[in-house]
């Protein structure tokens, strides 16, 4: 395709375009009809977090490793179950941190 003629067509199209429309009271009329802004309520999120934590607790309460880890931690013993539990918690925290950072970068 001839590039210079492409440019001519583009120039003609730009010339044909009238450009931005003058306001003429449009913004004012629009602002008068603008509905009040709805505030995003936080309670559904916290309810979800609460339900999630409760579900995790119910599922994991009878896992022997976690049970032993929790008891040893309270007793102040640095046993294998305690270290496993800490490592799991650290891994989950890092995962959440990574997710949060990726999400904030997208925004």
């Amino acid at each position: 395709m001839n590039e210079s003629h492409d440019d001519t067509i583009e120039a003609l199209l730009r010339q044909q375009f009238e450009g931005p429309v003058a306001d003429d009271g449009f913004s004012e009329r629009l602002m008068q009809q603008l509905p009040p802004r709805r505030c995003r309520t936080a309670w559904p999120m916290w309810l979800g977090v609460l339900i999630g934590v409760a579900a995790c607790w119910i599922c994991l309460a009878n896992v022997p490793l976690l049970d032993a880890g929790w008891r040893d931690w309270l007793a102040g013993e640095l046993s294998m179950p305690v270290i496993s539990m800490w490592l799991t918690m650290a891994f989950m925290s890092l995962l959440a941190l990574g997710w949060g950072l990726a999400d904030s970068r997208d925004r």
Partner: protein, 189 residues
């Protein structure tokens, strides 16, 4: 280029103010900054129907106000507005209206500005002969000055399709307006 980046940053700052405390003045500034081009976009899409274009522009801005939390900044705010306006146009276009029943001759009368020169009239007619997708792509890429990527975002089309429509639309215009080029070449020689 730097100017448009600065404009986008100002829009982004205004969006942040609205998100933080629902600042209506910040939204008014956004409207004032963007209404001209959004209304121009809709007027072109609606072949000069100013009343309908303004109604759709109003609908688009109110939608933007309601859905501002969904703007994630992956595109410029102006592109996001163009996209909402184009969606409003498509939705309105699905409902048969009195505008659709206007015949071709009437459309030509509506579109033809009294001061237009013949070449512009021919270009206008040639544009009408393009497919709706080609018209939309040329409007956004050439007349509104968006990049192919931005036009793909606004029109919700794959990038390759946008490029194809742009090239095909320009090729058709080139063929249909060939007589003007030939006449000009003859005049020059």
């Amino acid at each position: 280029m730097a100017d448009s980046a600065a404009e986008a940053r100002i829009d982004q700052a205004l969006v942040t103010r609205i998100r933080l405390d629902g600042d209506r003045c910040a939204f008014e500034q956004l409207v004032r900054r963007n209404q001209g081009m959004v209304r121009a976009q809709l007027r072109r899409l609606l072949h000069g129907d100013e009343a309908m274009a303004d109604d759709l522009a109003q609908e688009a801005f109110i939608l933007a106000w309601r859905k501002l939390d969904q703007f994630r900044g992956e595109a410029r705010f102006s592109s996001w507005l163009y996209r909402i306006a184009y969606t409003c146009f498509l939705q309105a276009h699905r409902i048969p209206s009195k505008h659709d029943s206007v015949d071709g001759e009437m459309i030509e009368q509506l579109q033809a500005p009294t001061h237009a020169i013949d070449l512009q009239l021919d270009l206008e007619r040639a544009m009408q002969r393009l497919s709706a997708a080609e018209q939309a792509v040329l409007l956004h890429c050439v007349q509104l000055g968006l990049s192919h990527e931005e036009a793909a975002y606004v029109l919700a089309m794959p990038l390759g399709t946008v490029k194809t429509h742009a090239a095909r639309g320009k090729a058709k215009l080139k063929t249909w307006l060939a007589d003007w080029r030939d006449a000009r070449t003859e005049k020059a020689s």
